[in-house]
Amino acid sequence: MAKAPNAKIDRRELLPQLFPTPDEWLFVSGLAGASRDAAALTKDGGNLYTMAGAMGAAVPMGLGVALSAPDRKVAVINGDGEMLMGIGSLVTVASAAPANLTIVCEDNAMHGETGRQTGHTASMANLEMIAKGSGIASTLTISEPGEIAQAAAFIAEAPGPRFLVVRVLPTDPAAYRRNMDMAECRVRFRNAFMAGG
């Protein structure tokens, strides 16, 4: 089984520490474990749009939210497989340069949803370097629980757009059963946003 090098962070304990006040954020999450973790964080709230398909779409969807709601803090939560499938979107994010966008990539170096197959980041690809090379100035990689506070400060203080890679243990994502009705969740998000949520 693949294991992200040096990873010592349990993904289930990550997001609540990175986003201590999740109600202040608008979230878009990619498949699959990332969406479970994000749903656990927000209790599958109206400020979250989760995906379980359209692999690679989370970052550009978050970009669309960030550019269209420039006064709101927007975060994309995804995994390494999802990130790599839409890797060009980091270039698009860098050029569009939304100051209100944060991307958190939970990198477990494997495809957890489809049978834990080894991913590109297990030994070769370096997502932070790709983001930096794309033109995103604020980047950070952490792999130890003791670094999470530093990552939370990075999200709060570094100039956006920000790209955070978190090397996580190959543990299961949060066991949260989220609403999988993709059309209903669109309406849910829009209604919550219009209501000022």
Binding site: L26, V28, Y49, G53, A54, M55, G56, A57, A58, V59, P60, M61, G62, L63, G64, V65, A66, L67, S68, A69, R72, G86, G88, S89, V91, T92, S95, A96, M182, A183, C185, R186, F189, R190, F193, M194
Partner: protein, 174 residues
């Protein structure tokens, strides 16, 4: 934007119709067919453009804009539609009312054989992913097609594409 460009007149009309309908974000992969429109969107202070690396990003960006009640458009060449079907799950499954402006290659007067395979597939692809098609063959068709697409993606809550044929665009100059 150059006044004597062969696409200047209709691009100006299209831009005004989009802007009046509240379209603020113009996502695009550069193409001769959308060049003038994108220049107008870049120049106007109420609209902005987003240069994509690949067309499907635009599908997701437009969906993101819709999540917060804003309107956006994806402008691309017909070949790029081939990059989009998986992301068009957002139209077919999640009912995001995506608006597209597709400039055709591989139809009337095309001389590049690489453009025919995707050009020929545009209609079937849009249909199979539940995107309504409003085709423009002649200048007189254009306003109606744009209004129809804006209506469909507005109150109609339906994904729609304005498809500009090469008969309309002119195959030369590409």
């Amino acid at each position: 934007m150059t006044a004597d460009h062969p696409h200047a007149e209709w691009s100006g009309v299209m831009f005004d119709l989009f802007r009046e309908a509240g379209v603020k974000l113009f996502t695009h992969v550069p193409d001769a067919g959308n060049d003038q429109l994108i220049q107008l969107a870049e120049a106007h202070n109420e609209t902005r453009t987003v240069l994509l690396t690949t067309e499907e990003e635009g599908v997701a960006i437009c969906a993101g804009a819709d999540l917060v009640g804003e309107r956006a458009v994806l402008c691309m060449q017909s070949s790029g539609l081939g990059n989009c079907p998986n992301y068009l799950s957002l139209a077919k499954g999640a009912r995001f009312p995506l608006l597209m402006m597709i400039s055709m290659r591989g139809d009337y007067g095309e001389e590049n054989p690489w453009q025919y395979p995707m050009g020929d597939a545009v209609e079937a692809l849009l249909e199979t992913m539940n995107v309504k098609m409003f085709k423009v063959e002649h200048r007189d068709d254009m306003e109606k097609a744009i209004r129809a697409a804006l209506g469909a993606t507005g109150n109609g809550a339906q994904a729609a594409a304005i498809v500009l044929s090469q008969k309309f665009l002119g195959a030369k100059g590409f």
